[in-house]
């Protein structure tokens, strides 16, 4: 069992974003679907402790999530947010920053390739990239940490079909060859079926 959530609740601004939410997320790949406002992004943020639930319990691989050091946990369980938010500088400097935080060696070309980018992107300033390119650079940055679990929030929302297919192929390969577990939020039921061994529907 990768994650187990029991009766999880989280309030924001006096409103429950999640309430009495139960879920079992297995190792492998899980797609989370549900209407806007169902708390899909919030769920991902809970899983790498960018936020803590107000109620209920979350376990990661059989241990309470809050018993993990949050910094170490986030290097192991990497979240790629929906909106790109890279640091100023080049794509490569972003990858290096992430790799150094995780204490990992960095193969720039291989890491970029796994996110569907070629080596020419290494020297590009992030401010010069399109949103779709930034989104892939965010994925590459997470991969530079060689995480065991990837949490992806709408990873292909800003991509055209060709780029989306490349990312989906890359994710399938990660899953197969690196045994990375993937939890992915998608608004597209087709994509959820293509990528998820397990599909988790969140109630409205």
């Amino acid at each position: 069992m990768l994650f187990e959530l029991r009766e999880v609740g989280l309030d924001r601004g006096g409103r429950a974003v999640l309430d009495r939410f139960d879920a079992r997320i297995e190792e492998g790949s899980t797609a989370i679907v549900g209407p806007s406002g169902a708390g899909k992004s919030t769920l991902l943020r809970l899983l790498n402790r960018l936020a803590d639930p107000d109620r209920g319990a979350i376990e990661f691989r059989g241990r309470p999530l809050d018993s993990y050091d949050p910094l170490a946990l986030r290097r192991q369980v990497s979240l790629v947010p929906q909106l790109p938010a890279l640091l100023e500088g080049t794509v490569e400097s972003n990858l290096r920053y992430a790799a150094e935080l995780a204490g990992e060696e960095l193969d720039v070309e291989a890491t970029l390739a796994r996110a569907g980018l070629d080596l020419s992107f290494a020297e590009r300033e992030v401010s010069q990239l399109s949103v779709g390119e930034q989104q892939r650079a965010m994925l590459a940055r997470a991969l530079a940490q060689q995480p065991e679990v990837l949490l992806l929030d709408e990873p292909t929302s800003a991509l055209d079909h060709a780029a989306r297919d490349r990312i989906e192929a890359a994710l399938a390969e990660l899953r197969r060859e690196q045994e990375v577990s993937i939890v992915l939020v998608s608004h597209d039921p087709e994509q959820a079926r293509r990528l998820g061994d397990q599909v988790l529907e969140m109630p409205a």
Binding site: N48, D52, P70, L71, A72, R74, P81, L87, L101, M138
Partner: protein
């Protein structure tokens, strides 16, 4: 510095003509500042007169304890004033109080230790006032910027946290820019001093009949003292205040919580 000049009350009263001119311009151009000009003028008369008497009292008493008390009061009210400009920073009073106290104590301590000024009320009161005043402005500007930037850069900071960065690492670019904006005004005005404007101390000394050489030297000392005080206060305030945006588990706090 034994020079002194005497200003009669009628001379001050006569200068009010220029206030009337300012109010007239505001009225004529509908800038809607007449009321503010009136309040500003009234407050300046009352506040400066009171401070004048307080300083006279302290000079006459000639004891260091009264000076320290006055400086402590300045630090306290400085932190309260600066807090209003740092409204988006949670619990900014503590960092500001520490920043102002540290900036005042260290720079005044240093200029006395270096033998630049004697530790007497005549030096410590005016220099302390300038040091704390400038420290207040710098830390207020820095925290104002910090509050804005932490709001705007939320997504980027959280994305950096999600890589396993510490709060310090995730906030570093923001802290750097806030510190810069707190210091830049004085650095810039130090660059242009004498070219575009004559700083107050120099003007005051020239008016009081001091030699231009003395006026310039004292002004330079004060400018450098202020640079020190401004950097210490802006640095202390930002380094203490950025932490208030994070939980102990390196999570961004929800705004307004």
């Amino acid at each position: 510095m034994s020079t002194s000049i005497h200003i009669a009350p009628w001379q001050v009263a006569a200068s009010l003509v220029l206030v009337a001119l300012a109010a007239a311009i505001s009225f004529w151009q509908q800038a809607d500042l007449e009321r503010d000009i009136l309040v500003a003028t009234g407050r300046s008369i009352v506040q400066l007169t009171l401070v004048g008497y307080a300083i006279k009292l302290i000079f006459d008493a000639d004891t260091i304890w009264l000076v320290l008390l006055l400086l402590a009061v300045m630090v306290f009210f400085g932190a309260i004033t600066a807090r209003h400009r740092a409204a988006k920073v949670p619990d900014s009073f503590g960092p500001l109080l520490i920043a102002l106290a540290l900036a005042g104590a260290s720079t005044l301590g240093l200029v006395v230790a270096l033998g630049i000024f004697e530790p007497t009320p005549r030096y410590l009161v005016p220099v302390g006032g300038m040091v704390i005043g400038n420290a207040m402005t710098a830390s207020a500007v820095a925290l104002n910027r910090l509050g804005d930037e932490m709001g705007e850069a939320r997504a980027r900071i959280e994305a950096t946290l999600s890589l396993g960065a510490t709060a310090r690492e995730a906030a570093a670019p923001t802290v750097r820019r806030s510190l810069r904006s707190g210091m830049i005004t004085l650095v810039d005005s130090t660059k242009t001093t004498g070219l575009i404007f004559f700083p107050g101390t120099m003007v005051g000394m020239l008016l009081a009949g001091a030699s231009p050489t003395d006026a310039v030297r004292l002004q330079l000392i004060l400018l450098y003292t202020l640079l020190g005080s401004v950097s210490i206060s802006a640095l202390t305030a930002t380094l203490l205040a950025y932490r208030h945006f994070f939980t102990p588990a390196a999570q961004l706090r929800e705004p307004g919580v």
